[in-house]
C-alpha cells in the first residue's frame, strides 16, 4: 500500500471498530473521526462508574453506549463504535441498531500483532488486565473474520499492520446512492407506466420533451423521474425499457425500481418466479428481443437505487412511497418499503395484500411522490402524492411537474388489463371529500401536546410552552367549534404607550410616535367599533364549504369568537346572518372578482351586549347599580353631616364627585348596548378580508381592504357597516393633528377609540415585525376597563405605571401565527399544520397578561 491510501465509506453509516485491547482503536478513531462521532465503551464505563477500566460496569456502560448510538443514528449521524467488538455477541447489538435506523453497518478491523498490543497496554499503568486477555481477543478476532459478512456488515475493511494504518491518509465519505440532494430539477415525475409506451410518448410530448437521435430530451433541461413499474401487463414493455434506459444513461431521467421491475429482474437472473400478475406479458415480449437487450435490461434493473432524495432533501421519490425515518437511508427494510409500501400481511376480498396507507400518518417536511397503488385521481395527502392513475387498467398516465406541483395526465388508449379491484369506486352523493379532508376529520393529540415550536413565514420560530398548550387543549376541547373551521384566530392588540398628558391614560401621539420610530411614514387610523371581535366564514352554498373546508352539514359558514367558540348559540340566527352576507357578496360581485366561492372575514360584531351579555350584567351593570344606589344614600347622610358640621364638607365634595363618576361609568357602557330582537339589530363591520380560495390577503394594504369591504357593505347597509378611517402621513403635522382631533371628537361623543395600523398589513423593521395595530381607547371608554373612579388624579397617577412588553410580544407572535395559519390553509396543507397555528394563538392567550391592556 502506498503512503497515502484512502478508504471509502458511506457518508451515513455505523462504523464498528474491531480489534484487541491495545490495537490502537481509540487513536485510530480520533485521527479520522470527529470526537462527537465516537462512542467509546471506555468513556461510557467512566460515565457510569467513574473508572474507564472498571470491567464490572460493562453492562451499564454498554447500555449507555447503545442508547447514544441509537440517538445518533435516529438523527442521521455517522457514528463510530470504539469497543473491542471481537465477539459476535457484542457485534450483534450494533447490527441490530444499524438495522433499526436503516443505516449501513461497516466493520473496520485493526488486526495488530499481539506484541504491539501488549507493549501499548504495558505503557498504560491503568490497564492491568491478565496476560491472557490479548491472546484471547486475538483468537476471537481471527475466528470472527469469516462470519462478519453473514452477520450483516455491508463493508469490511481490514488493516493488517501498523504500517498499513500509518499509510492511511484519509477516510473518504461517499454520499449514499440515493442522495441527489444537489439535484434540484425541475422534474417531471411520471407514474407507473406498465408497458404503456404510446401513452408515455404522448405524455412526454405534452410535457415538452422532444425526441431526437433515439433519445427524449427536454429543451429546458427538465429531468424525468420514473416512479418504477415500467414493465408488465402492458403491450410495449421493451419499448418503455429502451426509452427509460436511454434517458437515464443520457442523464435526462432518473428511475426508481418498482416491485414488478424487481420480479422481472429475478426472472432475468434465471431465478424461479411465477409468471403471474402481468409478468407473463413481459416475458413474452422480452423473449422476442435479443439476449444482448435482455442483458442490458438486467444490468439496468440491477443498478436501480431504491429511492432518491432530491432538491436539498425537499423531494423524495420512491415507488410505493417512503416514511420519513427512511428518507435517504439504506437497509433491506427501506428497499422493501420502497417497493411494496406498508402491508399488514392480510389479504383483502379481491385477493390482494391489504396495504396500510402510511401517508395518513406522514408528517415529514419532504414532499413524497410515488405510485404503486392505482388511484382514480392523484391527490395530495399530507404533502405526499400517489401518481399511479392506473394507465394500464384504462385510467391515465400522470406526471407531476415539480416544483410547480402541476399534474399532467394522458388518458389510456384502452384497457390493457382488467384490475382485480375496480379502479373507480362507487360515487357517493354530494361533493366528495379529498383524501386530505377525509384524513383531517380527526386531529391527533400527539401533534399538539407538550412544548411546540411553530415555524412562521414572518421569520420567527414561535415557541409554545407546555403549560400553555395544556390550557389551550382544554379550552379547544371544551369550547371550540369544529377545528376544520378554525383557520385563523385574531391576535391580541396592544394599546399605545401610556400618555404623558395629565388627564389621559391613552392618547394618539404615542401610537404615531411608535410607528415613526419604526421608520413608517404612513398609517391608517380606523375607528374602533365597540362590539365583539369575530371571524366570519361564508360560502356560496354548502357545497362550496365542503370543497374548501371539508365540512358537511354545518351550514354555509360560521361565525366564531376570538377563542374559537361559536358566536351564536342560536344556529338559525347565525345562518340567517350568513345568508345576508352571502347575498351581499353575490350582489357586490365579490365571488367573481376574487375568483372564489367563499371568504373569511375579520369583523367586529355589534352590539357588544349580544355576546357579552353575561359580562355586562354581572360586572358592568352590577357595579353601576351598586355604586349609584349606595352613593345616593351616602350623599344624603353626608349632606346631613355637612349641614350640622362644616368639617363634613370635604367628604361631601369627594363623594359627590364619586357619584358623578359612577353615573359616567353607566353612561359609558350603555353606549354599547342595545336589545337584539331581529336580525337587523346586529351590525357586522368587517375590516380585513383574510382569505379566499388559494389566497390570503395580508399582502394588500389596509386601504385596499377598506375599499373592497365597503363594496360589500354597500350591498346590505342594514346589517353591514363600513369602518370610518383616515390615512395619516406621519411626516405631516397637519395630518397628525387632524387625526388627533378626529379621535378627540369621536371619543367625546362616546366612541370607543381608534386603531392605528401601518399602511401595509405587514411591516418589518430591524427588530422584526412592527406591531400590526395599536389601539388608543377613549377616556370615557376606559372607565369600564379601569373602573368608575380611574380618572381621579391619585388613581390615574398609579394606573399610568403599566408595562406593555409582554402584551406587545404576544401581539406580535399571535399575528405571525395568524398569518402563517391562513397561508397554510390556502396552500391546502394538512389541517394539523393549520391547527398548530390556531392552537398556538389560543395557547398564547392562556398566558397571564394584564387584561386591562
Amino acid at each position: 500500500m502506498s503512503t497515502n491510501s484512502h478508504i471509502h465509506i458511506p457518508a451515513f453509516c455505523l462504523v464498528v471498530l474491531i480489534g484487541a485491547t491495545g490495537s490502537g482503536k481509540s487513536t485510530f478513531a480520533r485521527k479520522y473521526f470527529k470526537t462527537t462521532e465516537i462512542v467509546s465503551s471506555d468513556t461510557c464505563r467512566g460515565l457510569v462508574s467513574d473508572d474507564e477500566n472498571n470491567q464490572t460496569a460493562s453492562a451499564d456502560a454498554f447500555a449507555l453506549a447503545r442508547y447514544l448510538v441509537g440517538m445518533r443514528l435516529k438523527n442521521g449521524l455517522l457514528t463510530v463504535v470504539d469497543a473491542t467488538n471481537v465477539q459476535e455477541e457484542g457485534r450483534k447489538d450494533w447490527i441490530r441498531l444499524a438495522r433499526e435506523y436503516h443505516c449501513l453497518p461497516i466493520a473496520i478491523i485493526l488486526n495488530m500483532p499481539e506484541k504491539l498490543c501488549a507493549q501499548r497496554n504495558a505503557a498504560r499503568p491503568d490497564r492491568n488486565f491478565g496476560r491472557h486477555v490479548i491472546p484471547q481477543h486475538i483468537s476471537q478476532l481471527k475466528r470472527s473474520f469469516r462470519k462478519l459478512k453473514y452477520e450483516g456488515f455491508r463493508q469490511i475493511i481490514e488493516l493488517w499492520s501498523l504500517e498499513e494504518v500509518e499509510a492511511l491518509s484519509d477516510i473518504v465519505r461517499d454520499p449514499l446512492y440515493n442522495d441527489k440532494k444537489a439535484v434540484s430539477g425541475p422534474f417531471d415525475i411520471i407514474g407507473d407506466v406498465h408497458g404503456c409506451y404510446d401513452e408515455l410518448a404522448t405524455l412526454l410530448t405534452r410535457l415538452g420533451y422532444q425526441y431526437n437521435d433515439n433519445l427524449w430530451n427536454h429543451p429546458a433541461g427538465r429531468k424525468a423521474v420514473f416512479v418504477g413499474d415500467l414493465v408488465d401487463r402492458g403491450p410495449k414493455t421493451p419499448a418503455v425499457l429502451e426509452l427509460v434506459m436511454n434517458m437515464t444513461a443520457a442523464g435526462s431521467a432518473y428511475c426508481v425500481p418498482g416491485n414488478h421491475d424487481a420480479k422481472l429482474l429475478k426472472w432475468l437472473k434465471g431465478k424461479d418466479v411465477q409468471a403471474r400478475h402481468g409478468l407473463e406479458e413481459s416475458i413474452d415480449q422480452l423473449s422476442l428481443q435479443t439476449q444482448e437487450f435482455r442483458d442490458r435490461v438486467k444490468d439496468f434493473l440491477d443498478g436501480l437505487v431504491s429511492h432518491y432524495v432530491f432538491d436539498q432533501g425537499k423531494l423524495v421519490v420512491a415507488h410505493a412511497g417512503l416514511k420519513e425515518n427512511m428518507h435517504g437511508r439504506g437497509s433491506g427494510a427501506v428497499r422493501e418499503f420502497c417497493m411494496y409500501g406498508e402491508t399488514t400481511g392480510e389479504i383483502d376480498e379481491f385477493g390482494l395484500p391489504v396495504r396500510y396507507n402510511w401517508a395518513i400518518e406522514y408528517k415529514g417536511k419532504a414532499t413524497v411522490v410515488y405510485g404503486h397503488t392505482p388511484v382514480p385521481e392523484a391527490q395530495w395527502l399530507n404533502n405526499t402524492i400517489d401518481i399511479d392513475t392506473g394507465c394500464v387498467f384504462g385510467g391515465q398516465l400522470t406526471a407531476l411537474r415539480y416544483p410547480e406541483r402541476e399534474l399532467v395526465s394522458v388518458a389510456a388508449a384502452q384497457v390493457y388489463c382488467v384490475p382485480a379491484k375496480p379502479l373507480y369506486p362507487v360515487k357517493e352523493v354530494g361533493v366528495p371529500l379529498t383524501m386530505q379532508q377525509e384524513s383531517d376529520r380527526v386531529l391527533d393529540i400527539a401533534d399538539f401536546t407538550g412544548r411546540q415550536i411553530v415555524e412562521t413565514s414572518l421569520g420567527r420560530n414561535i415557541t409554545i410552552r407546555e403549560e400553555h398548550s395544556m390550557a389551550a387543549l382544554e379550552v379547544m376541547s371544551r369550547f371550540a367549534i369544529n377545528p376544520q373551521w378554525l383557520i385563523y384566530l385574531p391576535p391580541t392588540m396592544s394599546p399605545a404607550k401610556t400618555s404623558t398628558l395629565k388627564d389621559y391614560l391613552e392618547f394618539p401621539t404615542e401610537a404615531f410616535d411608535y410607528y415613526k420610530e419604526a421608520g413608517i411614514s404612513k398609517v391608517v387610523c380606523q375607528e374602533k367599533h365597540m362590539g365583539s371581535r369575530a371571524v366570519v366564514i361564508v360560502g356560496k352554498d354548502e357545497n362550496a364549504i365542503s370543497r374548501a373546508f371539508g365540512i358537511t352539514g354545518e351550514g354555509i359558514g360560521t361565525i366564531y369568537t376570538r377563542t374559537g367558540r361559536a358566536f351564536f348559540s342560536d344556529k338559525a340566527m347565525e345562518q340567517a346572518l350568513l345568508q345576508r352576507v352571502n347575498t351581499a357578496l353575490h350582489a357586490s360581485s365579490f365571488y367573481e372578482t376574487f375568483r372564489s366561492d367563499w371568504v373569511c372575514l375579520d369583523v367586529e360584531l355589534m352590539p357588544w351586549s349580544a355576546k357579552a351579555q353575561a359580562l355586562l350584567q354581572s360586572q358592568y351593570a352590577a357595579v353601576g347599580t351598586a355604586a349609584t344606589n349606595a352613593l345616593k344614600d351616602v350623599n344624603v347622610v353626608l349632606q346631613q353631616l355637612a349641614d350640622r358640621d362644616p368639617n363634613g364638607q370635604a367628604l361631601l365634595v369627594e363623594y359627590q364627585s364619586r357619584e358623578q363618576e359612577a353615573e359616567q361609568f353607566i353612561a359609558a357602557y350603555r353606549q354599547y348596548c342595545w336589545p337584539v330582537n331581529s336580525i337587523e339589530d346586529y351590525k357586522l363591520a368587517p375590516f380585513h378580508i383574510l382569505a379566499t380560495e388559494g389566497k390570503q390577503w395580508t399582502s394588500e394594504h389596509h386601504e385596499w381592504h377598506m375599499e373592497n369591504i365597503s363594496k360589500i357593505c354597500l350591498a346590505d347597509p342594514a346589517i353591514m357597516q363600513t369602518t370610518p378611517y383616515k390615512v395619516v402621513s406621519l411626516n405631516d403635522e397637519a395630518s397628525i393633528h387632524e387625526a388627533t382631533e378626529w379621535w378627540l371628537s369621536s371619543t367625546a361623543t362616546g366612541g370607543e377609540g381608534m386603531v392605528v395600523k401601518p399602511y401595509n398589513f405587514i411591516e418589518k423593521y430591524a427588530k422584526g415585525i412592527v406591531q400590526p395595530a395599536i389601539k388608543i381607547r377613549g377616556r370615557e371608554y376606559l372607565r369600564i376597563i379601569y373602573g368608575p373612579e380611574y380618572t381621579s388624579p391619585e388613581n390615574l397617577e398609579r394606573l399610568k405605571v403599566r408595562g406593555l412588553h409582554a402584551k406587545r410580544g404576544l401581539a406580535m407572535r399571535e399575528f405571525a401565527l395568524g398569518v402563517e395559519g391562513l397561508q397554510r390553509f390556502v396552500d391546502k396543507e394538512p389541517l394539523r399544520r393549520v391547527h398548530q397555528c390556531v392552537f398556538g394563538v389560543l395557547a398564547m392567550e392562556c398566558e397571564p397578561v394584564d387584561p386591562r391592556l
Binding site: 376529520r441 352590577a622 355604586a627 348596548c673 379601569y786 398609579r798
Partner: protein, 471 residues
C-alpha cells in the same frame, strides 16, 4: 359602603357612649386597602344616627389581593367591592367599633345590657338568595325587614333585578347583639370571596355567634358561607357546633353538582356502581375512564382485582391534580402505581394512548360537549381507540320534570350543552353501533319512573367477540 344605625332610645345620644365615638367628631379608622369614616349625621336626645362609611381604594384593593387574587380576571378591576357592604364592612365594625362589639362601655357600663330600639340601614347589601334569604337570616333573630331590590339597569328593564338591596332592619336588642349579628350576617348575604378568611376566623365566628348561632335555623348555611371556600375549616366548625348531636358532617364532594342536581348524591354513586358492574360482567381487565374528573370511578375500580390496569383521562389538568390527590397517587406502592395512570387528554382528538383497552367508560361526559363535536368523540373512541366494550352514561332529560327546583327547559348543570331524552340517546348510540360494528344495549340508571324513566341512562356497546378456531 354605608351602614347607619339609628336609635330612638332616650336619651338617644347615649349611643355615643356605647360606641365609644364622640358624636361631634368625624373619625377615620384605617383598614387594609382603605378606611372607614365614622360620624353622626343626626344627634339629638330623641334620635341619634351613627354612620359607617367605607372609603375603599379600588386600586389598592386589587394590588392587596396578592398572588392568589391577581388571577388576571378583568372582574378584579371593575368590581362592586368599594360600593357594597361585605366582609369589608364587618372589618370596619370590628376595627371601628371594637369596644361595642365586644360589649365594653367604660363610661356607662350600665347601658351594655339594655335593649334599645334600633333601625339599621345598609346601602347596599349584595344578597345571593334574594329576599327569602334575608328573611331566613334576620327574621329568626326577631328583626323586621324592609328591603328594596335594585334593578340592574333601569334603562334595560329586560335585564331584570340585581342582587343589590337597600335593607332596613328594625329590632329592639342590645347594641352588642346587633353588631354581632351584622358582623356575621353581612358577609353571609354577600357570599363572595373574603379578603381575610383565615384560621382565626373560626374562633371569631364561634365567639361572635356564641349566643345565637347554635339555635339559628339557618346555621349550616351561615357557617358554610361565612367560611366561604374553606371547606376544611367549614367541617371543623360544623364538628364543633354539632359535637353533641352526633350529626354526620361529611360533605358531598361536589357542591356545584349538589346545587344543580338536587338529588344526585346517591345517584352518582349508583351510576358509578352500575358502570363498574358492567365492566366486571364483561370481564374487562384494562379499562380507561374517559373524562375521569376527580377520579371517583377509578377509586371504585381500584378495589376490584379484575382490573389489572386503569387509565384515567381528563381534559382538565386541575381535575387530574385533584384526582391524583384523592387517589393518593403519591403514596402508592410500586404495585399499585403499575395498575393506574392518569393522563391529560381530550376526547375530540385521536389519541394512540387510548388504544388497546378492553373497555372504556364515559360517565356523564358526552353532555359536556357541543353536539357538533360528538362526531369527533365518536371517531376518537369507536374508529381509533376501539375498545371491546364502551359504557356511556348521560342524563335522561325526560326525568328533569321530577326535579322540583329545576325550572322547565333548564339543564341540570351549568356546563351541560344538551340533555337527551331516551329516544335521542338511543338513536345516537344505535347509529354509532351500526357504523362501527358494535352491539348496543340500554339500561336505566337509578329507579325507573314508569312515565319519564330513570334519572340517568346508560348505553353499553360491545364488539362481537372473535371466535377462535372459526377463522
Amino acid at each position: 359602603m354605608l351602614l347607619t344605625i339609628t336609635t330612638t332610645h332616650m336619651p338617644a345620644d347615649d349611643l355615643g357612649f356605647l360606641l365609644h365615638k364622640h358624636p361631634a367628631k368625624i373619625q377615620s379608622v384605617a383598614l387594609t386597602a382603605g378606611q372607614v369614616h365614622i360620624f353622626y349625621p343626626e344627634v339629638s336626645a330623641e334620635r341619634c344616627t351613627v354612620a359607617l362609611l367605607l372609603d375603599m381604594d379600588p386600586v389598592a384593593l386589587v394590588r392587596n389581593a396578592g398572588p392568589q387574587g391577581s388571577d388576571f380576571a378583568l372582574e378584579q378591576y371593575v368590581n362592586d367591592r368599594p360600593y357594597v357592604c361585605s366582609s369589608l364592612m364587618s372589618a370596619g365594625i370590628a376595627k371601628g367599633l371594637s369596644s361595642a362589639l365586644n360589649g365594653r362601655c367604660k363610661d356607662k357600663p350600665e347601658l351594655i345590657g339594655v335593649a334599645m330600639p334600633f333601625t339599621v340601614r345598609v346601602s347596599v347589601l349584595p344578597v345571593r338568595g334574594g329576599e327569602a334569604l334575608l328573611q331566613s337570616l334576620f327574621a329568626p333573630l326577631g328583626y323586621t325587614i324592609n328591603a328594596v331590590q335594585h334593578p340592574l339597569d333601569p334603562a334595560f328593564p329586560e335585564w331584570g333585578s340585581s342582587r343589590y338591596f337597600t335593607v332596613e332592619l328594625t329590632h329592639t336588642l342590645t347594641l352588642q347583639q346587633l353588631l354581632s349579628h351584622l358582623y356575621v350576617l353581612i358577609p353571609v348575604c354577600d357570599n363572595s370571596k373574603h379578603y381575610w378568611v383565615a384560621k382565626d376566623e373560626v374562633d371569631k365566628l364561634l365567639q361572635k355567634g356564641k349566643d345565637w348561632l347554635e339555635t339559628h335555623p339557618a346555621r349550616e348555611l351561615i357557617v358554610r358561607r361565612y367560611l366561604k371556600n374553606q371547606r376544611v375549616l367549614a367541617n371543623q366548625v360544623l364538628e364543633v357546633l354539632f359535637q353533641h348531636e352526633g350529626t354526620n358532617v361529611q360533605e358531598p364532594d361536589n357542591i356545584a353538582e349538589e346545587d344543580q342536581e338536587p338529588t344526585s348524591l346517591p345517584i352518582h354513586e349508583r351510576r358509578l356502581q352500575a358502570v363498574r358492574d358492567e365492566l366486571l360482567v364483561a370481564g374487562a381487565k384494562r379499562v380507561v375512564d374517559l373524562g375521569c374528573g376527580e377520579g371517583k370511578l377509578l377509586k371504585l375500580l381500584m378495589t376490584e382485582r379484575q382490573f389489572g390496569y386503569l387509565l384515567g383521562m381528563d381534559v382538565s389538568y386541575r381535575a387530574l391534580e385533584i384526582a391524583k390527590d384523592k387517589l393518593k397517587m403519591d403514596r402508592m406502592t410500586d404495585k399499585q402505581r403499575e395498575r393506574i395512570q392518569l393522563i391529560h387528554g381530550s376526547l375530540t382528538y385521536r389519541d394512540q394512548r387510548l388504544e388497546g383497552f378492553d373497555a372504556a367508560a364515559l360517565v356523564e361526559v358526552i353532555e359536556h360537549l357541543d353536539a357538533p363535536r360528538l362526531k369527533a368523540l365518536e371517531q376518537t373512541i369507536f374508529e381509533f381507540a376501539k375498545p371491546q366494550l364502551v359504557v356511556i352514561t348521560s342524563p335522561n332529560a325526560e326525568y328533569n320534570i321530577r326535579f322540583e327546583n329545576l325550572p322547565a327547559g333548564q339543564l341540570r348543570h351549568g356546563d351541560h350543552r344538551f340533555e337527551w331524552t331516551r329516544k335521542e340517546f338511543e338513536t345516537w348510540a344505535t347509529a354509532i353501533a351500526v357504523r362501527y360494528g358494535y352491539h348496543v344495549s340500554f339500561k336505566p340508571v337509578g329507579d325507573a319512573d314508569p312515565v319519564v324513566g330513570a334519572i340517568s341512562q346508560m348505553a353499553v356497546f360491545s364488539q362481537p367477540v372473535p371466535q377462535p378456531g372459526l377463522e
